[in-house]
Subunit: 107 residues, 2 copies
Amino acid sequence: MKDNMTGDELLKVLEALSNPYRLQIISILYQERQYVSQLARHLGISRPLLYLHLQKLEEANLLIGHHEISKNGKAMKFFELNSFEIKLTEQIIAQLSSSLTKKRKGD
Amino acid sequence: MKDNMTGDELLKVLEALSNPYRLQIISILYQERQYVSQLARHLGISRPLLYLHLQKLEEANLLIGHHEISKNGKAMKFFELNSFEIKLTEQIIAQLSSSLTKKRKGD
DNA sequence: TTCATATGTAATAATTTTATTACACGTGTA
DNA sequence: TACACGTGTAATAAAATTATTACATATGAA
């Protein structure tokens, strides 16, 4: 993960990570890439809900999905993790928060 | 910040940090401690709303508040930052997610 | 006494996030 | 053809988070 992030990007990542299912998704995909239905069964949630969570993680650039055609001709959507390393300290947050554009009175 | 966190504790911190006002609060308190009304003016938000945000940050152990009596006799509640350093990688999340107790079907 | 400035919280409203239900479509196999 | 198993999404409901309004209390200074 890039080291010079904006405040908005950091916030997006933090939002993406602030949900137990999404942490679990990362944990599962850390072990092996999976396709959507498989992952939904694994987590015990519906596909529509899983899509929502995957979308947030993907938008934060924490994972990436792509289609593949299986041997038996089925279209499968696989997701896999992007590698990342983010350090959170009060100082880093103080620096990045100057580039936050969201939800401020004056905007 | 302690280095051996549980999944639930990590999640609490991530939830606390996933809001632009709360990142701003950290940024302001990184520069100097402030009392509640002062901080509210600084952010341009109401005290009740600020209390809500402060509470989430305090529950995640990112800051701490205490009362002081000013020279002119007013009771002031000051908040100051706790120092923290949290590293987020896919591996760390994978490890901690096993100790997540929230929102899982079987609970 | 009245004003300005603190703290604190209860009740409610608005908004966003999370979750469910019900579809549509496609392919290989029995 | 019917079934099992994939993808994808629209519409809606439920729940949680965020925000506002309206109070109550206290102190010092004008």
